[in-house]
């Protein structure tokens, strides 16, 4: 098999995941896109491991480690998203702008005035 096929497929899957991370608004959909990017990397690792015939099988071992770390990441990420949803009532990454360098339009209930004023001064 040509190595180009899995490598190009992995590159395209990574780009699709990149689009999803940047364009999605729901935090859980962003996590799904991150999973797509990690799987693209895994496909690359497996393909290059099979091509190189590594005696240590570093590619496949690293793939297993990436799968494990992805499982841990999705557990922690979902716990954080649930916590944010429980305290804010939304899982929308566009509306979680408390740490932004400007006051969010129409959401002045939680922004304290001191840091908001300095933030506006710095942004202007």
């Amino acid at each position: 098999m040509h190595l180009v096929y899995p490598a190009v497929l992995a590159a395209l899957l990574f780009s699709v995941g990149l689009y999803g991370v940047l364009a999605r608004r729901n935090a859980i959909l962003v996590l799904m896109s991150v999973e797509l990017m990690l799987n693209a990397v895994n496909l690359n690792l497996v393909a290059f491991d099979v091509w190189l015939r590594d005696t240590l099988h570093a590619g496949q071992a690293l793939t297993l480690f990436v799968v494990t770390v992805a499982a841990a990441e999705i557990g922690i990420g979902l716990a954080i998203v649930l916590l944010v949803f429980r305290s804010r009532g939304t899982a929308d990454v566009d509306r979680l702008t408390d740490l932004a360098d400007r006051t969010p339009p129409g959401a002045g209930d939680q922004a304290d005035t001191g840091t908001a004023a300095t933030g506006r001064g710095r942004a202007a």
Binding site: M1, H2, L3, N26, L29, M32, L78, A79, D94
Partner: protein
């Protein structure tokens, strides 16, 4: 490892390559639908198709153990976790018009630029590289387990500690606190 593939042209693919290409098209299509559909639950279900297609690709690359791990962990548990997360955050059933943010076109431009760059570089670098799949099986459970428990024992054990830490962290984060503990949050039903 064979560096040149002059004998194997792109215009005469063998059976494995044809199957790989077909499954790859299905996987890529499912991934595109996952990141573009407006129905949130359907995105999770299309993700199952994409991850299952990747498991088939691992099987075609003779990485048998990785394929079954992929099916067990991703399709079995990660997607179920994502569905639980969608339901617990009260994701709307049906079409939600605000699934994509306004900077969708910037994201599309960035993704297309990344895809063009990566595909150009990868295709130029590995145009004549050939994977020999016929010699010995690379990813049977025996081979993978031997290398994992002979050369990679220490990272393996460290990962088990990491998983335990992630489990404890997830429980601690999602545990409901007392009313005096979190005064900012609205009172829960307890």
């Amino acid at each position: 490892m064979i560096l040149t593939a002059e004998a194997n042209g792109f215009l005469s693919p063998n059976g494995v390559e044809i199957v790989f290409l077909l499954v790859g098209v299905v996987t890529l299509g499912a991934a595109v639908i996952t990141v573009t559909t407006r129905q949130l639950v359907h995105a999770a279900l299309w993700l199952v198709v994409a991850l299952g297609g990747l498991a088939v690709e691992y099987l075609l690359l003779t990485a048998e153990f990785i394929a079954w791990v992929q099916v067990l962990i991703y399709v079995g548990s990660v997607v179920v976790l994502l569905l639980f997360g969608l339901m617990l955050t009260r994701a709307p059933i049906g079409r939600s018009p605000d699934a994509d943010s306004e900077n969708r076109w910037v994201a599309l431009a960035v993704a297309l630029a990344a895809a063009a760059t990566l595909v150009t570089v990868v295709a130029d670098a590995f145009r004549s590289t050939w994977i020999d799949l016929d010699r010995s099986v690379q990813g049977s459970p025996e081979v993978t387990g031997e290398s994992l428990f002979r050369h990679w024992v220490l990272p393996f054990e460290a990962l088990s500690v990491l998983l335990l830490a992630a489990l404890v962290g997830a429980i601690t984060l999602s545990r409901r606190r007392g009313a005096d503990d979190a005064p900012a949050s609205p009172k829960q039903e307890r």
